[in-house]
Amino acid sequence: MKKFLIACLLFSATVFAQDDESSKKGPVSAKKNEFRVDALSLIAFGKANISYERFGDGKWSYGVTGSFAFGDKFENDFDEGYRSTLPKYEVVPYIRYKMSNSDAHYYFIEGFISANGGDFREITRTDDGTVGFYQISKEDYFSLAPGASVGYKVYFADSIALEFLVGAGFNILDPDKSPDVISRIGLNLGYRF
């Protein structure tokens, strides 16, 4: 996992070496829509993470990310008691601001609200009037987490997007059951059209 991240970062270093001025204006800005898939979540966390982004004429863009878990890892950890929550789905509307003039590669910041839900488990004592016993109780949770991220995006062949994204939000609903922190980390591959 570490090697994978380092390799991606090194790869991005070669991209940084490009001439900034030559890529400020280009056909990328004419394309207003983009779909992305998060390779990092797919490989590392067993989560399908698909995003859509709509670009305006200026530096603002907006979009939505949909995510759901399909891998066994989190579920096994949950069943074996290594975690108290099992996130199952997440819908993240976001708005972004481009930090530079270039369309070919740029940093951005974003604000988002994550609507997320899943399973929560706790140990409860049940009393049948004669004896008591402890058992594992499972319940659903749903929460909203406002948060912020920073990221870097670069385009190849004016259409292929590679995007790094890191951010975090804090759940404000159902705080006893939902995870405290929602992370938004991604290595997205996308297509802009």
């Binding site: 991240l5 970062l9 991005s12 270093a13 940084f16 069943d79 074996e80 008691g81 290594y82 975690r83 108290s84 929550t85 940093y107 488990r121 706790e122 140990i123 004592r125 009393d127 049948d128 009037g129 004669t130 004896v131 008591g132 016993f133 402890y134 058992q135 594992i136 920073v150 870097y152 790094f164 890191v166 951010g167 975090a168 995870p179 405290d180 922190v181 992370s183 980390i185």
Partner: protein, 194 residues
């Protein structure tokens, strides 16, 4: 390049901070009890005697703070036993203690099972007939001298013994912290074999 470093730092920081701070063992439950394990203390010990340790635990355990007893068998979904450990040491010279090696063959095992060596890993086994978890075993005292017995290998606890359920699958692990008044304030039961 500086920006790249900041970005990498940001990723690392977030990966660390995004770890769920609630991570832990959510299949573990701890409860308190008193005197579940006892040393069969004798007024005198002679070479050839045995030092016995006993656990006789009802399936229904009084639990502080609750009116009804705790069903530890049901809680663990039928755990076949509860495990605890103890170690017997002999004073080889003034203030120097060495563990007494035991084997399953040299020990007398009346109830439960052991894995013996420099210390004893004891299992109080469930007896469905009387609905109790039971252990009783003795270590031979082969030579004269000063001995001491303590519970929990590398444990700092001086007046409590921890028993852990032999739970199967993803069911609850029940840890019973049992107070004892048989140990001195260093956590030892000391005795002399003549």
């Amino acid at each position: 390049m500086k920006k790249l470093r900041y970005f990498a730092l940001g990723i690392a920081a977030l990966l660390i901070s995004s770890c769920d701070d609630e991570d832990g063992f959510y299949n573990e439950k701890y409860v308190d009890a008193v005197n579940l394990v006892e040393i069969a203390a004798e007024p005198d010990y002679a070479v050839g005697d045995y030092i016995y340790v006993t656990a006789d635990i009802s399936r229904y355990l009084a639990e502080p703070g609750f009116d009804t007893p705790l069903d530890i068998y049901l809680t663990t979904n039928g755990a076949r036993g509860f495990v605890f450990s103890y170690i017997l040491e002999k004073e080889t010279s003034a203030g120097v203690w060495q563990s007494v090696n035991s084997t399953e063959e040299t020990m007398i095992i009346n109830a439960g099972t052991v894995q013996a060596g420099p210390y004893v890993l004891a299992t109080a086994a469930y007896n469905a007939a009387n609905e109790r978890y039971q252990f009783n075993a003795g270590i031979p005292l082969a030579t004269a001298g000063n001995y001491r017995l303590s519970f929990g290998v590398n444990s700092d606890a001086t007046n409590e013994i921890e028993l852990r359920s032999r739970t199967q699958g993803n069911n609850l692990f029940l840890n019973i912290i049992s107070d004892t008044n048989q140990l001195n304030n260093q956590g030892y039961y000391t005795f002399t074999v003549n």
